[in-house]
């Protein structure tokens, strides 16, 4: 058995197992789909039943936020029309369609206290490559492609303890690093200026692995004193990473440095 483990280790390092892994993932995807179809509604129901009060409070907040957003939308539409008029007047051509996204469904997820990886049902046949950026259906950053097969690929989520993203506060442009931590939480580390609860954290684009300006999350807690060099800043992702079922792979952005080693 130890000999077999050694053989598997060598085969895994040399990539001999990759074709077999691709075939295995394809063969088991119908079973994964069936399990997801049966158990996801059950888990969702149980989670909702446990959080009834929180859901009611969240519902009230969302209604208020919805009204504010409707007002902003109307204002935005007016501004957009105005900008269009001005662009036409100045002869500026608007660039559209410069982002190509591939929609995919989450097939399975491997999560422990320190790792958070999902597999999706699109792969290299759909133009997906290692290192590509993965977004939620709402357009927020959720992870990076780490391994591709013809019909599927693995995505390391932001809350995996091996994930690190150069980021900044949207309003103040304070820079730092969003890091996944044990227990599948996110922190905004190395921020050298004040960060407030409610600040929105976006990608900074530094390092070239992510495009700038992708929303990551909102600051949920800041702890430490003003004398600390770096305060501890907890970040709440914009979407629940553990329950995302549909994701978008940004195939038009090519990362400059691909660093997805480590398993």
């Amino acid at each position: 058995m130890v000999g077999l483990a050694l053989l598997l280790a060598v085969a895994g390092q040399t990539g001999v197992l990759n074709p077999f892994q691709g075939v295995f993932l394809k063969a088991t995807s119908p079973v994964s789909g069936a399990f997801n179809g049966v158990f996801r509604p059950v888990a969702s129901f149980l989670a909702d039943a446990g959080d009834l009060r929180a859901i009611q409070a969240e519902n009230r907040e969302l209604r208020l936020e919805n009204e504010e957003l409707r007002a902003l939308l109307i204002e935005g539409q007016r501004d957009s029309e105005r900008v269009q008029e001005l662009e036409e007047a100045l002869g500026i051509l608007e660039r559209t369609g410069d982002q190509t996204l591939v929609a995919a469904s989450v097939v399975s997820r491997a999560s422990t206290s320190f790792d958070s990886v999902v597999s999706i049902n699109k792969g290299s046949n759909d133009g997906i490559k290692n290192g590509m950026v993965v977004l939620s259906s709402k357009g927020t950053l959720i992870g990076t492609v780490t391994k591709t097969f013809p019909d599927s690929c693995f995505v390391r989520l932001l809350n995996d303890s091996r994930s690190k993203v150069n980021a900044e506060v949207q309003q103040s442009k304070v820079r730092g690093v969003v890091r996944g931590n044990p227990g599948r939480t996110l922190t905004f580390d190395l921020a050298e200026a004040d960060v407030k609860v409610g600040d929105i954290i976006v990608t900074s684009g530094l390092g070239g692995n992510y495009p700038a300006g992708l929303p990551i999350g909102r600051v949920s807690e800041v702890s430490g004193t003003a004398q600390d060099l770096y305060r501890k800043v907890n970040v709440e992702p914009m979407v629940r990473l553990s329950t995302a079922t549909t994701v978008l792979v940004l195939t038009s952005f090519t990362p400059q440095r691909i660093d997805v080693s480590g398993r």
Binding site: M1, V2, L4, A5, L6, L7, L8, A9, G12, L17, F20, Q21, F24, L25, T28, V31, S32, F35, N36, F39, R40, V42, A43, L46, V107, S108, R109, A110, S111, T112, S113, F114, D115, V117, S119, T146, K147, F154, D160, S161, R162, K164, R179, N181, P182, G183, R184, S242, S261, G262, R263
Partner: protein
């Protein structure tokens, strides 16, 4: 035929580990359905079933979760020797507690190895995190799961088998 059934069951357990288990977390720990199935296969099918099932489970789970199958195989490896030792050693312990001890120790080995692998690839884990969030939470989960699974087995009258490898069996 029986070997094929064991292999199929463990492949299904690996699929359940990456689809069903993450849906029912306890804090940051998830149930180890794959290990539970392997232990139950051993309890019902004996040592030969575990000998066949361990590599099948390690490879299936490694493929499905993008972890090293070799690492998982090493993690599951203590199952058989430990169960056999508890069988033969004259420790006053019921079959249930023998199985429970085996499952908890193997669960700790698997989680410990995965934590070490994560640390070697850049994860910032501290000893406290490994002990509380990985080891302790995992132990409680494993013990609770085995107890839940053991009750129906006893209810239908299944007598747990010894996991000692008999001379001449292979």
């Amino acid at each position: 035929m029986r070997s094929a059934l064991v292999a199929l069951l463990l492949i299904l357990a690996a699929v359940a580990q990456v689809t069903v288990a993450p849906l029912f977390p306890l804090g940051s720990a998830v149930p180890n359905l794959a290990l539970l199935t392997l232990v139950l296969v051993g309890v019902i099918g004996g040592a030969p079933a575990v000998m066949l099932g361990t590599p099948v489970l390690a490879i299936s789970l490694g493929f499905l979760s993008d972890r090293s199958p070799a690492l998982l195989l090493l993690g599951y490896l203590p199952l058989l020797p430990l169960a056999a030792y508890l069988d033969t050693a004259s420790i006053p312990m019921s079959r249930y507690f023998q199985t429970l001890s085996t499952m908890v120790v193997v669960g700790l080995t698997v989680r410990g190895l995965l934590a070490l692998a994560a640390m070697s690839s850049g994860a910032s884990l501290t000893l406290g995190v490994v002990l509380w969030q990985v080891a302790l939470a995992g132990m409680i989960f494993d013990a609770a799961l085995l107890t839940l699974a053991y009750v129906p087995l006893r209810f239908v009258g299944l007598e747990p088998r010894a996991l000692t490898l008999e001379r001449g069996s292979f």
